[in-house]
Symmetry: C2
Subunit: 468 residues, 2 copies
């Protein structure tokens, strides 16, 4: 390979300077190097220190992305694709410097094919913008990771969230992509047919690749009909195990529950305080059903029976849309509710995912761990998928507290892996989960590295993420 | 790269001889070189001429697969993984010679995790064997490509079939794999969690790779609860367009139909003749609903209304299990029914898939094409996915008729691609669809080639398939 490649941890100062000059000449005001804007584009949650890019470029078309890639390749300079900056594991950091490629001006909807339940969009549109656009068509895009993330970012981190138990994750809802590859071509990974056996599944290779294999320039998405009726409510249980067992039986019974979220007692307390609610402060499921009036009634009746069998003191229904919105707003504000438990504390928000039969064990063992170490760490989970989040409150200015937080994350990941789980159900690897991915997949990482080298031989795309 | 690589179209005689001697010494009777067994392992449907391997080896464990790969790599000899031989596009041919690796002795079930609705099996188990094994658990594996294929072959071709409209394809139902890679390691692609954002999606890279990237040694599958109630029936329509429009509205309405199969008038005639039925010989949907008595009743009532709106003369129900089995047996025997239309004729069974809004157009244009060229070619489709099969009857001993058949396939694929479709919804590329994949994905093929070279630098795994 005659191309120069980026070495881990090294900054190519000459290349960066040349690329900056070329980008400034080509993009004018749409290339920025001020510290504030660079800091904003390295914004990262949790304890991972920010590593600023050397500049931020704002392309407005796939052709411009191709030009940017050509400049980066010619100068061996990293490119870090950027959406809304809501990723949690340091995905947008620039450990070797380089250029942040802010995709948010590429937010067009190219087409909506209502009969086929699909659409094609640019990566910079957010999920809320897309759903606003779609409203009149009677369709919606179901994936909801909480944050109003960009569709490109959601594809790149293989996002999912509350609705995944019914509608799947980004892997299941991206039909095709166009991607600008390291050689500066825009490549289409698939056509618009709902299924295909035509060659390697490049679509799903780029979904979840965290921008390390190319820059996504358009995304063909599956859509769903907006349900005629949505109903749901909250259902308190005596213990985490009871709540988890109710979830298992719900899934096993084939009830097509749209959302089934587990909040532990501390999270319920935080939500009550933060959102002015007065639910029982005990392990609770937030549940939602989609369908028509008949099917929703049938699903909820069936669920009610299951919940009662596991000692629930009764399901509190919210059929009223405003009440329902208030309930889910409380769920979506879980992060802010967590923060309110210790004013001024930082939050380390991390996720793991285990087979659902192990969810109760994993959460219970994590509770014991939290108690044994005197931590404050509410838990909220997408229980139908076996995926849960711990929001660990800590003092990010105190090295000892940071070390305690890191040690907790290590134990949490080791626990999930020991239960045949994964170190991340939906946040992705970024920088924060790199050691746990090594522990999880071992030799498979070599295959990932081989694929990375084959598609990005210089290593210009988001270096220092997923694997070293 | 110091390794020797296989050149397209060339036989490495010395390497093959050495590998044969080594395999004979190591595997004794489990390595066979007789012509009959080699011919059986190059069995291929349609007009693609058989290309026999030089020997067939029957491994019984992943460790033995590792040994076989080591021998092939040391001698630069092709390995062609083999299941039941039901693939349709020349997937198991040996254009450069080499060794067929018959996986059918590796047919164990390692574990069934009923609470998690998953299991882990070896690749040589067939879908019927697996479902027999699972029966007492109340679970089943839903993917049904028609043939009693091996699970490994189904994963390798990204198979789907009648149930895919509800349960997805192999891509959606394989949770994890172990694969022996070119360097002789057995690598696990994922853990058993239902979702993960942990690095590149190697699972879906190997699903559909047609044995060109490694040899699958175990497969973790999602399972489903056996539905309490199954009902269905047949529904005749005046025209293909009416039938397709009923399908579109069914899908758009969110009716979770389990099967919705389109048979054209000629296929209905063939099925009536072959299976002793007396249905109307007009475009017809075979439909099936899964659920409990309430939900199945609701789905079928809703579908009935839609069918009536599109001029159906009425839905003929079969709630009786024996009657239902007879109906679906007729559907599954579509291939043999096709053959019965012209005794002695060969069948070219090919598939394409288009967005469902284009299905009626694509089938109608194909009917015109068939009529204009005086062909006999019944059509049967997985209408809910926009996927359909043409069973073209022709005389495989007559060069002119073979040329006519090939020209028809070219027009069919061009038509599907012009409608944003794919050249194969479920059969795979093998040898037969290679030119159409090039037309479909263009530059993306270069990415596939780069991935292939990175994971199989010598080109030992099933060379001459998918792309040249």
């Amino acid at each position: 390979m005659a191309l120069k490649a980026i070495r881990a941890g090294s900054r190519n100062e000459t290349g960066i300077d040349t690329a900056k000059a070329q980008l400034a000449a080509r993009f004018g005001d749409r290339f920025q190097t001020g510290e504030a804007i660079r800091a904003q584009h390295a914004h990262t949650t949790t304890y991972i220190p920010a590593q600023l890019p050397d500049g931020v470029v704002f392309p407005e078309s796939a052709d411009e992305v191709r030009e940017i890639v050509a400049i980066a390749a010619a100068n061996t300079v990293p490119l870090i694709p950027f959406g809304t900056g809501s990723s949690l594991e340091g995905h947008v950091n620039a450990p070797n410097g380089g250029i942040s490629v802010d995709m948010m001006r590429m937010n067009r909807v190219f087409e909506v094919n209502a009969e086929d339940l699909d659409c094609r969009v640019e990566p910079g549109i957010t999920r809320e913008e897309l759903n606003t656009y779609l409203r009149d068509t009677g369709l919606f895009f179901p994936i909801d990771p909480g944050a109003n993330a960009s569709i490109g970012g959601m594809a790149s981190t293989r996002a999912s969230g509350t609705n995944a138990v019914r509608y799947g994750t980004m892997k299941d809802n991206v039909l095709a992509l166009t991607v600008v590859t390291a050689d500066g071509r825009e490549v289409r990974t698939a056509h618009r047919a709902r299924k295909s056996s035509a060659g390697y599944d490049l679509t799903r290779l780029f979904v979840g690749a965290e921008g390390t294999l190319g820059i996504i320039t358009s995304i063909t998405l599956r859509l769903q009909g907006i349900p005629e009726v949505i109903s749901g409510g909250v259902c308190p249980f005596p213990t985490i195990a009871d709540a988890c067992n109710a979830v298992i039986l719900t899934i096993q019974s084939g009830i097509p529950v749209a959302r089934i979220e587990l909040l532990d007692a501390l999270q319920m307390k935080a939500c009550n305080n933060y959102s002015g609610l007065s639910y029982e402060q005990t392990p609770t499921l937030f549940v939602e059903f989609h369908g028509n009036s008949e099917s929703v009634e049938m699903q909820s009746r069936h669920f009610d029976e299951i919940a009662a069998d596991f000692g629930s003191s009764g399901f509190i229904w919210t059929t009223n849309p405003e009440e329902r919105a208030r309930l889910w707003k409380a769920r979506h504000n879980a992060y802010w509710a967590q923060k309110s438990l210790i004013p001024g504390a930082a939050i380390l928000s991390t996720d793991v995912c285990v087979p659902i039969s192990r969810l109760a064990d994993c959460v219970a063992a994590t509770h014991e761990d939290i108690a044994a170490h005197g931590l404050t760490a509410p838990i909220v989970g997408h229980a139908g998928d076996g995926n849960f989040h711990v929001g660990l409150l800590f003092d990010d200015k105190d090295a000892a507290d940071v070390a305690r937080a890191e040690a907790f994350v290590e134990r949490l990941n080791a626990r999930a892996l020991s239960m045949d789980g994964t170190c991340t159900g939906e946040h992705g690897i970024g920088q924060g989960k790199m050691p746990f991915l090594e522990a999880e997949l071992g030799d498979a990482l070599d295959l990932m590295r081989q694929v990375k080298r084959s598609l990005d031989p210089q290593g210009i795309f988001n270096p220092g993420k997923i694997f070293a």
